[in-house]
Amino acid sequence: MRITLDEETCIGAGQCVLAAPDVFDQRDEDGIAVLLDETPGEDQRAAVEDAAIRCPALAIQIEG
């Protein structure tokens, strides 16, 4: 599983941090989401899929 995050689209709602805190964080300086792990293990799949669905800007893509 490879994750891409569109920082331009991100609105900093923080949904991904709630859904998958091991994979996403928010930068202190602007609140925009950052990827902690671009290729997390399968144990993170459900959490990452939840993050992608919840993201109000649809900024998260999952491949594989």
């Binding site: 609105i11 900093g12 709602a13 923080g14 949904q15 941090v17 709630l18 859904a19 964080d25 928010q26 930068r27 202190d28 300086e29 602007d30 609140g31 925009i32 939840d50 669905i53 919840r54 109000p56 800007a57 649809l58």
Partner: protein, 405 residues
Amino acid sequence: MTDTSSIPGVFPTARPDGCPFDPATEYVDFRATDKLDKVSCPSGIDAYLLSGYDEVRTLLNDSRLSSRGAVSNHVIMDRDVTTDAAPGSIIHLDGQDHTRLRRLLTPEFTVKRMRALREYVADQIESHIDAMLAKGGPVDLVQEFALPIPSLVICELLGVPYEDREQFQSHSSILVSTDASPEQTMASSEAVQNYIAGMVMAKMQQPGEDLLSRLIQRGNEGEQPLSVPELITLGLSLLIAGHETTANMIGLSTLALLRNPEQLAVLREDASLAESAVEEMLRYLSIVQWGLLRYATEDIEYGEETIKAGDWLVAALASGNRDETVFPDAASIDVRRNPTAHLAFGFGAHQCIGQQLARVELQEVFSRLYRRIPTLRLAVPFEEIKFKDNALAYGVRTLPVTWEV
């Protein structure tokens, strides 16, 4: 042949008799059809009604829709829905103008920053519960608990000094009250505006460790610093948005849970369900009861329909959150459901910026209030409870409660 799609229905506003937690029954029929329905709205406009979960999500995330009629101008009688957004009016602005303000505010509302407020929130909740218990029932939970908690938290966030909080709180409480006279509302509105204006000027001179000071600073570091009118509007917007909505959720959730005692018992016995229960009550109650008004800035193909530039649309959040195809048994409360992708905070670029704060406040209330007062019950018959039927954010006007001593 008659084209029935051009004959508008009416925007549904009345809740079903005896079901104050349910949106209008007409939404069931609107959701049952695939096509977009057009309805006439109290403001005088016709609008496409987005009633299904997918319709709401897809279109609220479409950048060709403008928020110029936000939030719910379609329900205000004879309202001119096309007026220009005031400077700093973040909920009405689109595109780059909106992004500029949003990006300046976003770092103030991160998950991390809101969690840092959790201890302050919990302390306020505990001390207000102590005060209610000391006073003895019956008390109005709205006045004694639901309103002061979010008000104090917003004060903490904005950096209102302790000595001013009581006065600030009493003015904001009148401001969001549906029972205050127009004169009272006007006077309080002026007082709060003046207070925020004074704070903005003071923080410009002497910045502190608070949201407004950081906002001013961050604006100054950018290409276009925030103007004084922008700062005042932003401060007021945060105050109102963060105050009344959370207060309504506390009061209305408590009433809905008291009416569903088996669900309340599940939550009371397992504090780890607070997070899930908060998402479920947000979904179930969808207090932004008239939904969000949007305006098409260009033609949009949606299914077999062409939404024309200049058309209005209403995203019915409450209806989308009761969509059975997404939330089975949607009309029931299930505190274990954890419906994280609900629409109660909206969707798209304007999704509630304070949602992580609301979550922290509601989670702390849910995990404390019903455990500290396990025998909490209504002090009047349910039928006597008055609801905010005409307010943009739905709630109870008062909630008389009592408990066993």
